[in-house]
């Protein structure tokens, strides 16, 4: 399953939600290296990502779960409602099967555990040609 914009020449737009600013910056830079992707917004908690999703209507949303304020799992259904055409992908440190199952039940299109291959996995899920091969580093 890929997210294809109506205009194939238009890059897929990405909204990144993580309460860690360092992770947001690095993800932005790595995703920005992909020719078919463009990061158009950032959010630091559940409420902010809902507002940004509604405003920007991105093609892809990366959503952290553990955040101060409203957590990602709680916000997930509202994120999906705010941007129904977007593919919302959870990017979390929590790899517990219970958490993964609950996130998928609440509308996540994919689940990636934070780690060395997370960007490669993210690109695969987004459907972008992957410049960082999983497991190559």
């Amino acid at each position: 399953m890929t997210n294809t914009p109506a205009d194939p020449s238009r890059p897929l737009t990405v909204l990144i939600c993580d309460d860690n600013a360092d992770i947001r910056e690095r993800l932005t830079e790595l995703i920005g290296r992909e020719p078919g992707l463009r990061v158009i917004g950032w959010a630091g908690d559940g409420d902010e990502v809902i507002a940004k999703a509604r405003e920007l209507q991105p093609d892809v949303i990366t959503l952290d779960l553990s955040m101060q304020g409203r957590n990602g799992l709680d916000a997930l259904p509202d994120v999906v409602r705010a941007a129904p055409t977007a593919k919302t992908i959870v990017v979390s440190a929590y790899a517990s099967p219970t958490v993964v199952k609950e996130a998928m039940r609440r509308g996540a299109a994919g689940y990636i555990a934070k780690g060395t291959t997370m960007v490669a996995e993210l690109l695969l899920l987004i459907g972008s040609p992957c410049s960082i091969a999983a497991g190559s580093v």
Binding site: L30, S66, R70, E102, K114, T116
Partner: protein
């Protein structure tokens, strides 16, 4: 079965029946103290008597008064016995089996719902099914074909057991309270642990993303192993929290850490 054995049902059956009904009242120190005082054979007890047959009720009341106790309520109808029990708060209640066995059961239920005292059933003949149902509804003892001295003996036994039961129940409640406190501390500790471990993962993730930008393969692989180790710890801890009753939301947003 001896008179005394017949006179007393197992206190545990009484407790189970009341717990199943979900109406176990909290033992109140004053009430237990009063029940303990009532154990003294010379004590004048406040007794509630109930029977569907008025003439049997009057007879029983005379017997009880003849034993030196005070009748605080005489009940015939089910609708009145509950409110009256709550109002007079007897030391002991005696329920006689009238014409309709079900009516006596209803009387027992109504008294047990409102009273913190032993309820004793008086029956003309041994009837296992009726006694079983009465025990389920909360009687503490029963007497078959009672004579006055047997009634006094049954009251003494029932009150003694009732005090033992109340004391034991209080001890169990204290133990449950201590266990709940320990569980609360354990949950707090585990949630703090998740917070710290999550911080480690976030830091390692930051490092690994930076390394990817610099294409430094070896440090990245080492970081990856560290993340996998830390991840397994977090996963295990979350599962432990879920098992112990925390919700995912409590774990994820950290709101419960400050409680």
């Amino acid at each position: 079965m001896s008179q005394r054995e017949r006179a007393a049902l197992a206190p545990l059956a009484w407790g189970r029946a009341r717990r199943r009904a979900g109406v176990v009242p909290r033992p109140v120190a004053g009430q237990v103290k009063r029940a303990m005082a009532a154990q003294n054979p010379s004590s004048r007890l406040r007794v509630l008597v109930a029977n569907q047959r008025p003439h049997r009720l009057a007879l029983l009341s005379r017997v009880i008064e003849g034993l030196g106790h005070q009748i605080v309520a005489q009940e015939v109808v089910v609708e009145a016995v509950g409110p009256d029990t709550a109002r007079v708060r007897p030391d002991v209640a005696l329920v006689g089996l009238g014409a309709d066995p079900a009516h006596a059961h209803e009387l027992i239920s109504a008294i047990v719902r409102e009273a913190f005292c032993p309820v004793i059933a008086l029956i003309p003949d041994y009837d296992a099914d009726w006694i079983e149902e009465a025990a389920r509804r909360g009687i503490f003892a029963y007497i078959v074909d009672a004579r006055p001295e047997e009634i006094q003996s049954a009251i003494d036994i029932a009150l003694g057991r009732f005090v033992e039961y109340a004391t034991l129940k209080g001890a169990f409640e204290q133990r449950d309270l201590a266990l709940q406190e320990q569980l609360g501390l354990l949950r707090t500790r585990q949630r703090l642990l998740v917070e710290v471990q999550d911080g480690i993962l976030q830091q390692l993730t930051t490092v690994t993303l930076g390394l990817q930008l610099g294409q430094l393969a070896e440090p990245l692989a080492a970081t990856g192993r560290a993340i996998e180790l830390a991840k397994s710890i977090v996963t295990q801890t979350i599962d432990d929290l879920l098992v112990s009753g925390s919700t995912l939301d409590e774990i994820l947003d950290g709101s419960s850490f400050e409680r």
